[in-house]
C-alpha cells in the first residue's frame, strides 16, 4: 500500500481514495460474503465500510496500518449486520451440485460433496459473528495469528485461543448438523 496515496486520501483527495480502495473492493466483498453468507447484507456491509474508511481516514496515524485498520472496519460492519439479523439464524443454501463439486474436490462422489459442503456451511452459519470472523480471517484470508490479532485489535495469544475456540464451535455445530 502506497503511503503517499493514503496521505493524499487523508487530505480529501477523492481520486487518491478511489485508487486506494479500487483494488480492495473485491476482496472486501468476498470477505463480507464469507462472514455473512448473504449477498445483500455483504453488499451493504462493504458500502458501509467504504464510507467509514473515507470518513475516518484522517484519523489513521500510520499509513502502514491501513490494511489492518480498513479490514477491522469491514469486520465491524459485518458484525453489526450479523447482530442486526440475529445470531442464531441458519440460512437455506442454494448450491448446485456442479458448483459444489468444483469448490470442494474430494474422493467422494458429487452427492457426498454437496452434502458435506452444505452441512459445513450450515454449521458455519450457526457460529456467532466473532467466531465466523476469526475463521474467515485465518482460513479464507490466509492471515497468520499476528495479522489476525492486528485486525481484531487483540493480543496474538488471545487470537490464538479465539481461533481455537471458533474451530471447536464449528466442530460442535457440525455435529449438530449430522
Amino acid at each position: 500500500m502506497d503511503p503517499a496515496l493514503i496521505r493524499r486520501a487523508q487530505t480529501g483527495d477523492v481520486d487518491a481514495f478511489t485508487a486506494l480502495v479500487a483494488g480492495r473492493v473485491e476482496a472486501m466483498q468476498r470477505m463480507a460474503m464469507a462472514i455473512l453468507g448473504h449477498e445483500a447484507d455483504a453488499r451493504d456491509a462493504v458500502a458501509d465500510s467504504l464510507a467509514a474508511i473515507w470518513r475516518e481516514l484522517p484519523r489513521l496515524r500510520d499509513p502502514l496500518a491501513f490494511d489492518a485498520w480498513s479490514t477491522r472496519i469491514l469486520v465491524h460492519a459485518c458484525r453489526r449486520r450479523l447482530r442486526g439479523r440475529g445470531r442464531a439464524r441458519v440460512r437455506e443454501l442454494t448450491l448446485d451440485a456442479a458448483d459444489a463439486g468444483r469448490a470442494m474436490p474430494t474422493a467422494a462422489g458429487p452427492a457426498d460433496v454437496v452434502a458435506d459442503r452444505i452441512g459445513l456451511e450450515r454449521a458455519f452459519d450457526r457460529l456467532d459473528a466473532d467466531e465466523r470472523t476469526i475463521l474467515v480471517l485465518h482460513h479464507l484470508d490466509g492471515r497468520g495469528l499476528d495479522e489476525v490479532a492486528a485486525v481484531l485489535g487483540i493480543p496474538a495469544g488471545t487470537a490464538k485461543s479465539r481461533l481455537f475456540a471458533a474451530r471447536k464451535a464449528l466442530e460442535r455445530a457440525l455435529e449438530r448438523e449430522r
Binding site: 449477498e39 473515507w54 445470531r87 459445513l120
Partner: protein, 386 residues
Amino acid sequence: MTDRMELTDAAIRSMLTARADRAARDRFDPAAIVAAAGPRARRFGACSPLVGRVSIAAGGIAAVLIVAVLIGGSLLEEPGASHAPIGSGSAISPSESTPPTASASLGPPTESFRILSAAEAGDLIRSRSAARAGSLFVVNGQLVAAETVVTHCASEPCGSTLLADAGAGFVIRPVGDFGPGPWSASGPGHLSGTFVLRLSAAVDNDLRIVDFVGVLTTPPNGGPAWFVQDLLEGAAHNEGAYAAVDAWLVRDPFHPCGSDPRNPVVVYGCPTDDYLTEDKFQPLQSDGSSIGPAASIYLSSGSYDRWAQNPAPAGLSGRGVEPRRAIYLLWLVSDGCGPNADCAPPPPRWRIVGRFDPLPDPVEPAATEPVEAFPAASCPPGYACM
C-alpha cells in the same frame, strides 16, 4: 451430510472460498460513497499550544488530537421529537430522582451516534447548555487546568478546568451527585481520554458549568458503544467504570416480593427483574409465563420504569412491557448492603445512570445563548482572549 466428513483446514478453506465466490461483483462509485459518507473526521495533531487562533481561546492548548463527543443522534433535532435529558441531575440518583422525559424517537440508536470534535462540543455547550441541561454527551479529549480562569469551588475562588481546543465560555466540574466525586480545588490536572460530560444550566463568573461524569470505557473495536455480549465477555472492568451500551431494556412481569433480610440499598428481582439484552427480547410468554434472557445485564428492579423511553405495557393484561432500545450509560458500582445490614458488600454490578438521547445540532445559531468570551483578566496562558 455424510458421516465420514472430517473438519480439516482444507475443508474449512474450501467451504469459505465457495461461500466467498458467491459474492456479488458490484461496482462501487467512490464519488457517491464520499458524497454519502457525511462529514469527515478531523485529523490528528494539527495544532500546537502556542499557535494563535482567531477564535477565542480555541487553539491555545492544542494537545487535543481528536476531541470527540459522543452524543445521541446526528445532532439534528427531529421534528416533533421530545428529548429526554440524559442523566440529568435529578435523574441520576435512583432514589431521589424523576425519570427522564419520554422521547418519540425509538429507532436503532447506534447508527445515529457519532463522535464530535472538541470544537463541536464547545459549540454544543455554548449554545445548548440551558435548553438541554441534564443531557449527557461524551468527549474524547483533554482536560486542562487553567489557574487563571477563576470560578468558585465551595464558595472559594479557585482555578478551573477547561476542555482543550473547545473554545471558551465554560468550565468543567465533577458532577457531584454520582461518579468519582469532587476534584480537589486544582481539578483533575491534565487528563486525556474519553469522558462523559453533562450539560447544565449553572453559571459561575459568567462561565457556564459543564458536569464531568467520568471516564468512559470504550469497546476494543473502536466503536463508541458496547453491545451487551461484548461487555459481558470482554476484559474485567474496574469498579467505577462507565460504559455506553447499545441495548434493549426489558422487564419481567411483576411478581410477589419476599422480605430481604439484608435490606439492600438497590433491590434485584423484586418486584421485577429488569435486563439489558443484546437483541429484542420479551420475557413474557404467550401462555403468561416468563423466562429470562440467555445473555443479559441484570439490572436492579425498577430500571425499566425509570430509564426506558416511552415505557409501554405489552402482552396479556399488560403484564409485560415493550422492550426499548437506546444507548444507556452504565456505571459499575457495588450496591452496598444498606445502612442496617450485616453483610459483605456485594461485587460491583452495572447500573444504568443515564441515557444518551439525540441532541440538536450544536452549530445552529445560538440566538438565545450567546457565546461568552474570557474576560481579559482571566485569560489562561496560551489562549487568545478578548
